[in-house]
């Protein structure tokens, strides 16, 4: 068996769920699991990494890695790979993962499979499945000529079992590489939302033009608050300026894969379906029984959003707080 390197992502030392998915999948494969964490808070990730299956964790505790810089991160991943010599590298298809690992692959003269939804590891062979043509078909990605097979997984695709607190990982402090940078991150403007990003959210409540005006999104955020959900939107309402583009789900917005997607007042145009049809359970609420969204939905409610949504918020409150 070989080594699987897992790039972990964390918020101030709190390991993200998407990284737990990867660590647990790697542990199940029978390979040695080596985690890697970057930044000032990297040391805080070691316990959680161990509980989720890491045998070892490389900690690159350096403030230069607190925020993402493609050149700095590429150099540091390459340096850890050189030391660890993994045959497989797993990372999340997050904003960082998607931007970083193709560059890493080019540097390491190896292959990368992006945006995958299924993962099969057997020894050092990896096959990943990825949706193509907006989820209209799926392809198996097979690696060739790839010393390190890099797979980027969408969040919420792999199961997460309870952490095993009896397990721990050996900590290896790794010195940061400091390449000459041609990229400078000048400023990070925080988003309006404290919620999980749409691409990572497990539950999404999304609104469309059926909500009539921007102010009515309040009704959706009330529902989302009860569910611990992130609010999304169709392009029609983004273009109308009701909500920011960061909230758009679809072909020219975000591709999401939650367990539960609730579409309120969204017709279900093909470009919207392109972004959300990978959701496990889809609920559609629309006053038009012929809306195309019903063809993709698991559960459908024909009715007025302004009546249904407040009732739903109440019902969820009851169901979730008992």
């Amino acid at each position: 068996m070989g080594k699987v390197l897992v790039f972990t992502e964390h918020t101030n030392g709190n390991l993200k769920r998407s990284s737990m998915e990867l660590l647990q999948a790697a542990a199940k494969s029978g390979n040695t699991v080596v985690a890697v964490a970057f930044g000032s808070h990297a040391g805080d990730v070691t316990a959680a990494a161990g509980h989720n299956g890491a045998n070892e964790i490389y900690v690159v505790k350096d403030a230069s890695l607190d925020s993402y810089n493609p050149e700095a991160f590429t150099a540091n991943i390459a340096s850890v790979v050189e030391k660890v010599q993994p045959t497989i590298l797993l990372a999340s298809a997050s904003a960082t993962g998607r931007d970083l690992f193709p560059r890493v692959a080019a540097r390491l003269n190896t292959g990368v499979a992006s945006d995958c939804t299924e993962l099969n590891i057997s020894g050092d062979t990896v096959t990943a499945t990825k949706p193509m043509y907006s989820g209209k078909c799926f392809a198996k990605v097979n690696f060739e000529n790839s010393p390190v097979k890099i797979v980027l997984m969408r969040a919420n695709q792999l199961p997460v079992a309870a952490a095993d607190t009896s397990k721990s990982a050996t900590v290896v402090e790794h010195a940061a590489a400091k390449p000459d940078l041609k990229t400078l991150i000048k400023e990070i403007v925080k988003g309006a939302s404290e919620k999980l990003d749409l691409t990572e959210a497990n539950v999404i409540v999304s609104g469309g033009r059926g909500l009539k005006e921007a102010a009515n999104f309040k009704m959706l955020s009330d529902l989302a608050d009860v569910l611990g959900a992130t609010v999304g939107a169709s392009r029609a309402v983004v273009d109308a300026g009701w909500v920011g583009h960061g909230m758009q789900v679809g072909q020219t917005g975000k591709t999401v894969a939650p367990t539960l997607y609730i579409a309120v007042g969204i017709s279900g145009a093909i470009q919207h379906l392109a972004g959300m049809s990978g959701s496990k359970v889809i609920v559609a609420i629309n006053n038009d029984p012929n809306a195309p969204i019903f063809q993709k939905a698991t559960y459908g409610i024909v009715g007025d959003a302004f009546e249904i949504v407040p009732k739903l918020t109440e019902e969820f409150k009851k169901a979730l707080h008992h």
Binding site: A95, R98, G111, I188, V189, A319
Partner: protein, 257 residues
């Protein structure tokens, strides 16, 4: 200065996908091919940059089967690009595609700014821009919704998670992957279309680039259509009954609560 734009031709979103008998690709009969939507933003930004900097030129570049890919190159020319190159190739992966694009850009004397789309809507990989930047040994930024040029460097705004934005400065040359919001792509004008028709599109054979066969790193196989979804379960009754029934189903049947 020279500005390059990498463009990919992709099936229109509305196209119905049929899988080829060997399951390694799609049946291309009857497909309507279009310029990748994000690449329209890339072309538009390049043309604007050219117009603001007299003496500059926009080159569009695409790898793919030349018989069809030239159509997208002509679309870009009609939008205002000056020159076009097609790399005649089939069945490349992202790695070999990026290598080929890099080789051709180098052979043409390099570029000050290279635009691409943030991703191609067919493979949905968002990998070619970053690989291209690495092969050219220049910085990159993707998911860019604002671009300003200052000669020795460029400043971009990129969209990241949770609605956050990063302001990034890169030394030129640099690769910029365009997101929606960067601009409003123009429609090709009739004179633009007429002029584009007359342009000679330079052809480069992939085989002439001396890229080793080992530079193909991933292959697709076993393509399948998604499993049939069970039909939707419609919930009846008044609003209150519908709401409580839905919550029950989500908890007891779908088990997602």
């Amino acid at each position: 200065m020279k500005i390059f734009v990498c463009i990919k031709q992709v099936p229109d979103t509305e196209t119905k996908i049929k899988i080829s008998p060997d399951q390694t690709g799609i049946d291309s009969a009857g497909i309507k091919w279009v310029l990748n939507p994000y690449d329209e933003y890339a072309v538009e930004e390049a043309v604007k940059l050219r117009d603001a900097n007299p003496g500059s030129q926009v080159w569009v570049l695409s790898a793919g089967p030349k018989t069809r890919v030239v159509e997208s190159l002509r679309t870009a020319l009609a939008m205002g690009a000056d020159e076009a190159i097609v790399i005649n190739a089939e069945n490349l992966d992202n790695f070999a595609t990026a290598k080929a694009l890099a080789e051709v850009i180098k052979a043409e004397g390099g570029a000050k700014v290279i635009f691409s789309g943030k991703l191609a809507i067919d493979d949905n990989a968002s990998s070619v821009s970053q690989m291209l930047a690495e092969f050219l040994n220049v910085p990159h930024s993707t998911v860019v919704s604002k671009f300003t040029f200052a000669g020795e460097n460029v400043v971009v705004e990129r969209d990241v998670e949770g609605g956050a934005k990063e302001v990034v400065q890169m030394m030129t040359p640099a690769v910029v992957g365009a997101n929606k919001g960067l601009n409003m792509p123009r429609y090709a004008s009739l004179p633009g279309i007429m002029k584009a028709k007359k342009k000679v599109i330079k052809e480069v054979e992939f085989a002439s680039l001396n890229i080793p066969a080992t530079d193909v790193k991933v292959k697709y196989s076993g393509m399948t259509l998604p499993a049939e979804k069970p039909p939707v379960k419609m919930i009846s009754g008044d609003a209150a009954a519908q709401a409580s029934e839905l919550v029950k189903l989500l908890r007891d049947e779908a088990k997602v609560l």
